[in-house]
């Protein structure tokens, strides 16, 4: 367009206000879960929360950051291992779970120095190597007894019912905190920057986006999230076997959840996690065919519906429940557009222009003229 169109930058829509309030309300209702839910449901919901964390974190990394990693199980396993290690140094087990998670976040910083310079598939498999190495190194610790593993015995200090409630609250708190952090990050400059990097690293760099710093933020967030999931999984399962925790199947689950729900959408992974949770509840017993189905679903979704279920719904109905992007509303009556969506089918140049427009609108909102 030649003349400057009159636009209003809109973030909240009435629908998204309702949806966000509804979600916050739901979390508040869930917070009292252990008081009114059966033991079985409490346990199942704890598992669901862990899945949501994993799906959202993998989505943050791949869907928003463009960093496809096949090695997130490294952080999952390390989170659990760090918690075990700390608990055997006489740290309270629940404190150990939290400290262990943070420790993995610190560990992810030096790792990001190497990993983030890898591109595309190199990063994917490079992270896989990292997770294999982490697995082998953890096995060297005599405490773990090789593949036999060890249990978080210190949790015995808590009564089973108390433990169930604590696990539930810890999982809910971790999920809420991580999702809130992700929400804030995506709405901040970092959110627009990482998406610009995802669409075209060169174009983003040429606009003055600090590529490595922004990638690092999202990488460390994803590492902390996966470590939290691993630590929580340990709290529910109690036993730690390196081969189980460092298994690539965790990444397969994350990919499935994020992909089916909708890569690069905030709501998608939550839906994906619920779908995965339901499938697991009903078909988890069917063993190998269940895994074949998951793999086939990932294959088909990536080929035929790369935007996932939620992404497809969003495109059709212009639904935005959780406002993490910007909406440009043309004041002269043209339909509004949104430039934040992940669209693998679109040409590189147009997408990065979109995101570039977003960054400048972010600047505009902050009151800085470029």
């Amino acid at each position: 367009m030649t003349e400057l169109a009159k636009v209003a930058v809109q973030r909240w829509t009435p629908l998204s206000v309702v949806a966000t309030c509804g979600l916050v309300g739901l979390v508040l209702v869930l917070a009292f879960g252990p008081y009114y839910l059966s033991a079985y449901l409490t346990d199942r919901l704890t598992t669901l929360f862990i899945y949501v964390i994993m799906a959202a974190m993998w989505n943050a990394l791949a869907g928003y950051g463009g960093l496809v990693s096949v090695g997130q199980q490294a952080f999952f396993g390390l989170g659990a291992y760090a918690a075990i290690r700390l608990s055997f140094w006489n740290v309270d087990p629940y404190l150990a779970l939290i400290l262990g998670t943070l420790f993995v976040g610190i560990l992810a910083l030096p790792l990001s120095l190497i990993a983030l310079h890898l591109r595309g598939g190199e990063f994917a498999i490079g992270m896989w190597v990292v997770s294999e190495l982490a697995h082998l190194l953890v096995n060297l610790d005599p405490l773990v007894n090789g593949e036999t593993g060890i249990s978080l015995i210190a949790l015995d200090a808590y009564d089973a019912g108390v433990r169930r409630a604590y696990n539930y609250w810890l999982a809910l708190a971790a999920m809420t905190a991580l999702m809130a952090l992700l929400f804030l990050l995506l709405r901040s400059r970092v959110g627009a920057s990482v998406q610009a990097i995802r669409d075209s690293e060169e174009a983003a760099a040429s606009l003055g986006v600090r590529v490595i710093t922004n990638k690092r933020i999202i990488f460390v967030l994803a590492a902390v999230g996966c470590a939290a999931a691993g630590a929580l999984w340990l709290a529910t399962l109690i036993s730690f076997q390196p081969r189980t925790y460092f298994n690539v199947q965790w990444t397969a689950y994350m990919i499935f959840m994020a992909l089916v729900g909708g890569l690069g959408t905030y709501e998608g992974p939550i839906i994906g996690a619920i779908i995965f949770f339901l499938i697991e509840t009903f078909f988890g017993g069917s063993g190998v065919w269940y895994l074949v189905g998951l793999g086939a679903a990932a294959l088909l979704f990536s080929l035929f519906l790369p935007r996932g279920l939620w992404g497809a719904l969003q495109d059709r109905f212009e639904l935005r429940l959780i406002p993490v992007g910007y909406r440009l509303r043309f004041l002269d009556g043209r339909p509004s557009t949104e430039g934040s969506a992940f669209n693998p089918k679109s040409d590189d140049a147009t997408t990065s222009q979109n995101t570039a427009a977003q960054i400048s609108s972010a600047e505009y909102q902050g009151g800085n003229a470029i």
């Binding site: 496809v68 190497i114 598939g121 190199e122 490079g126 294959l299 990536s302 790369p306 693998p344």
Partner: protein, 274 residues
Amino acid sequence: MFGVMRVINLAHGSIAILAAYVVWSLAEGLEISPFLALLAVMPIMALSGWLLQRAVLERGLRSGQLVPLLSTFGLAVVIDNLLFEKYGADTRSLAPNVGDLAFESWNLTDDIAVGQLAVLTFAVAVLLLGGLHLFLGRTTLGCAIRATTEDPDTAELVGINSRKVYAIAAAIALVTVALAGTFLGMRAAFDPYAGPAQLIFAFEAVVIGGPGSLWGTLWGGIILGVTQNLGSQISPQGFLIAGHVVFLLILTVRLLVNSSDLLRWVGSRLRLSE
């Protein structure tokens, strides 16, 4: 073929193991030599490569790096678990099917003996790489493949059918993978979930050697193999740890020197000292 295809196939290792299983089934079922079975499997793999490219990779190539990674990972999960469903958790080996070759060796001196199979494997690897090198460098089709890798759209402008070229490259890649899987099966045991480990080794060799260079890959493979064996002298787990550590070290060094200048320097030194 990582470099040539410009797409990273996460199902690479799983396909190698799949080929090894098919060769094993043929060799066991028909009681023929695995080499004969391999000859039969190679055209099938070429066809599957073509299909894989047309059905899966081609869609991915148009939409950036992300989609092919996800779809080939899905494919790897499917292959691994279907193999498990069909063949169970038992480890298999092609070694019994090749008779004496598995353990016969040539004695070079009184102290040094080399396994015949190892020599054969190495010879095939060198021949294969040499053949690919000549094919890519000297033939029209090879030039077409390289041109398509550089820029598919421009290649189309000079009359290259890039869809066809990609499919041929994929077919060649899968034949290579079948060869690798079969030799792996003769040398060692494999099980349905052995694919990812093979993928990681292959990837490490490629990265150590420098992506996109065929002879670099051979060097990478040698460096990786030697360090793994040195590592296993130290501790049983050292085998894998040493390999991964060397890979990460080389990666770090490469990033520090920013581009592959140092490797090129080391490469030229290595050639001089021969």
